[in-house]
């Protein structure tokens, strides 16, 4: 145990003495928060929407058919009650709900105007925005067709409600994304580099010749980065609360617990890389290409996964950042508790165990 503490202390000295490492470690989150502040627009296909039809008349049915025919939407025929919509959002299956009030068709016929309501899950603001725009266009089209042989024009109004994130703050979306990205980068790159550096310098040999257990070498490499990463999580959250005005709705404790799990995933990936790589440059390159890219592409943070070809959607399931991103979004923005995200947590746990096993097995006790 004392040996272990000695080692951890030494790791901290390395980190704290290296300006470059420090800069990456703590500059990165700040820079990323700023960079990703610029929201990106997305195109959407086949987003699931649900209809709450209190009217059940010809007009509501016709609009429903129009929506269904569009390539943008996949209509769920489930007729949920108004209050069940929010539950649907929380499950994450449904992105948009269309509510036809009881007298929708009748109003249109008698008063020449009627109002339908669109409720969007705005925890992903880009997606919500795009979806509501598409939907309004469909309704407008329908209205135009309807008015072709009408003396008095009929008007269908669309009232849009954004749930969870009424101001469509992009930050809601990118803060969890930045967290996933920063943790992945810092943990994978830093651990792999710090282990490979010892190989390069020759100190790894000295460590392996000492009675200090190789598995402890790994653990003592992991612990400082785990701690520093949790500090990173804290600083991103502080930035988000005090600079971006974005509160954490759910349990902060749960958020840290899930982050710890994700950090362990990343640390084991870093370890896996360090087993293969012989130089720090290689370690850095593999970390960049092998981790950063999939994380950016497949976490759902920059590009909606719903839009991707099926193959890529399957691939995305193997990317740990995707699950972590969903989890953080659910806790931070939707304020959900563990009972709502246990499935994602379990998947992330599974992936973590897998990588941890593989990398521990691959870490050679002897060098040859």
């Amino acid at each position: 145990m004392r040996q272990f503490l000695t080692f951890i202390k030494k790791e901290f000295s390395h980190v704290l003495r290296d300006r470059k490492t420090l800069l990456i470690l703590f500059g990165l989150p700040v820079v990323q928060i700023i960079i990703f502040g610029f929201a990106l627009s997305n195109e959407v296909k086949n987003a699931k929407i649900v209809v709450v039809d209190y009217a059940k008349d010809d007009v509501s049915r016709q609009i429903m058919n129009k929506i269904e025919a569009s390539r943008y939407f996949e209509l769920e025929k489930r007729s949920l009650a108004h209050h069940e919509v929010e539950a649907g959002f929380k499950e994450g299956q449904i992105k948009l709900a269309v509510v036809f009030p009881a007298n929708f068709g009748a109003d249109l016929l008698h008063f020449n105007r009627a109002q339908l309501q669109v409720i969007a899950d705005a925890s992903d603001p880009n997606l919500a925005n795009t979806l509501t725009n598409y939907l309004s266009t469909i309704v407008m089209d329908y209205q135009l067709a309807l008015n072709e042989n009408q003396a008095v024009p009929l008007q269908i109004g669309t009232e849009v409600r954004m749930l969870y994130n009424p101001q469509l703050k992009g930050a809601h979306n990118f803060v969890p994304g930045v967290m996933a990205l920063v943790l992945m980068l810092v943990c994978v790159m830093m651990t792999s580099i710090s282990i490979v550096r010892e190989k390069e310098l020759g100190t790894m040999e000295i460590l392996l010749v000492s009675p200090f257990k190789p598995v402890l070498v790994i653990l003592s490499k992991a612990v400082p980065y785990l701690i520093l990463s949790l500090v990173n999580v804290a600083s991103i959250l502080l930035l988000s609360v005090f600079v971006l005005d974005l509160p954490v709705k759910g349990s902060v404790l749960l958020l840290f617990a899930e982050s710890t799990l994700f950090i362990i995933t990343s640390l084991s990936l870093g370890l896996l890389i360090s087993v293969r790589a012989q130089t720090q440059q290689t370690a850095m390159l593999i970390s960049m290409m092998g981790m950063l890219l999939p994380t950016l592409l497949f976490s759902g943070f920059m590009f909606p996964i719903e839009n991707m070809p099926k193959v890529l959607q399957y691939i995305s399931n193997a990317v740990p950042a995707k699950w972590y991103y969903i989890i953080v979004k659910s806790i931070m923005i939707k304020g959900l508790s563990l009972s709502a995200i246990w499935k994602e947590t379990l998947i992330l746990f599974g992936i973590t165990m897998f990588f941890l096993m593989v990398s521990l097995k691959n870490f050679k006790i002897r060098l040859a």
Binding site: G202, I206, V209, P211, A368
Partner: protein
């Protein structure tokens, strides 16, 4: 005499290439054993098998009485090692390095304190002990590296070209440290390219292309080859080498 290292036909292959070929020798307790050979002869490879860093391809060996295949953990408790690459942390200070290596060898804080004070005094590093190791001249780094390798009083210390690139005066001082260690009962297994250093050893072996071609005291070897210096002994053997120097 008690043998603390025994090898029997110890061999290491890398694919088709035999780096260390059937080497058999013994090292006795308390002696300074010189392990000589040209570049690429296989010295480092042999040393890595003995320290548990690398698994032999065939043959057998014991170090401090423990088997190199099955008992590496126990071997590690009994040896010190200074690798061919300089291997202290340059971004840590002299004291931090001593504390770290003492720590992972499980020395108590008190023992570390005592030993480091003594060591720093002995090396004349008292005024530099808070300096980063990276800022020290090479000779001092090597001396420090050796002192750290024997900090935990190992039975055997393995030194892989400990004086490479160091000036003659510093090399003399380095050997004074080695003698001081042997007087405390440490057995020294050392590789070197300097023939004057070979003369300091109790016994030496000379490796050529992976095999041991000669093994005896410097005196006997010179007599056997009918020459006046170790240089000439080495030259006679090494010119048969086929492996190009790397």
């Amino acid at each position: 005499m008690e043998a603390v290292i025994k090898t029997d036909k110890l061999t290491k292959r890398f694919g088709d290439f035999i780096a260390t070929n059937n080497i058999t020798f013994e090292v006795y307790a308390g002696e300074i054993f010189g392990f000589l050979g040209a570049n690429g002869a296989g010295k480092t490879t042999a040393m890595r098998m003995l320290t548990g860093l690398s698994t032999p391809s065939s043959g057998s060996a014991t170090v401090a009485g423990f088997d190199v295949y099955r008992e590496t953990e126990r071997i590690k408790k009994n040896i010190g090692y200074m690798s061919q690459k300089f291997s202290l942390y340059e971004d840590l200070t002299v004291m931090e390095n001593i504390r770290f290596f003492g720590g992972i060898y499980g020395l108590s804080d008190k023992a570390i304190k005592e030993k480091s004070d003594m060591l720093v005094e002995q090396l004349g590093l008292a005024s530099e002990k808070k300096k980063l190791v990276g800022a020290l001249p090479l000779g001092w780094k090597q001396k420090l590296s050796f002192s750290v390798a024997v900090l935990h009083d190992p039975k055997i210390v393995f030194l892989d070209e400990p004086t490479g690139g160091v000036d003659p005066l510093t090399r003399r001082q380095f050997w004074d440290l080695i003698y001081a260690a042997t007087s405390r009962g440490v057995t020294v297994f050392v590789t070197t390219h300097y023939m004057d250093e070979a003369e300091y050893c109790n016994r030496i072996s000379i490796m050529v292309d992976g095999s041991i071609k000669a093994l005896d005291t410097p005196y006997n070897l010179k007599r056997e080859f009918g020459v006046g210096s170790m240089d000439e002994v080495f030259y006679k053997l090494a010119r048969e080498a086929r492996r190009s120097a790397d």
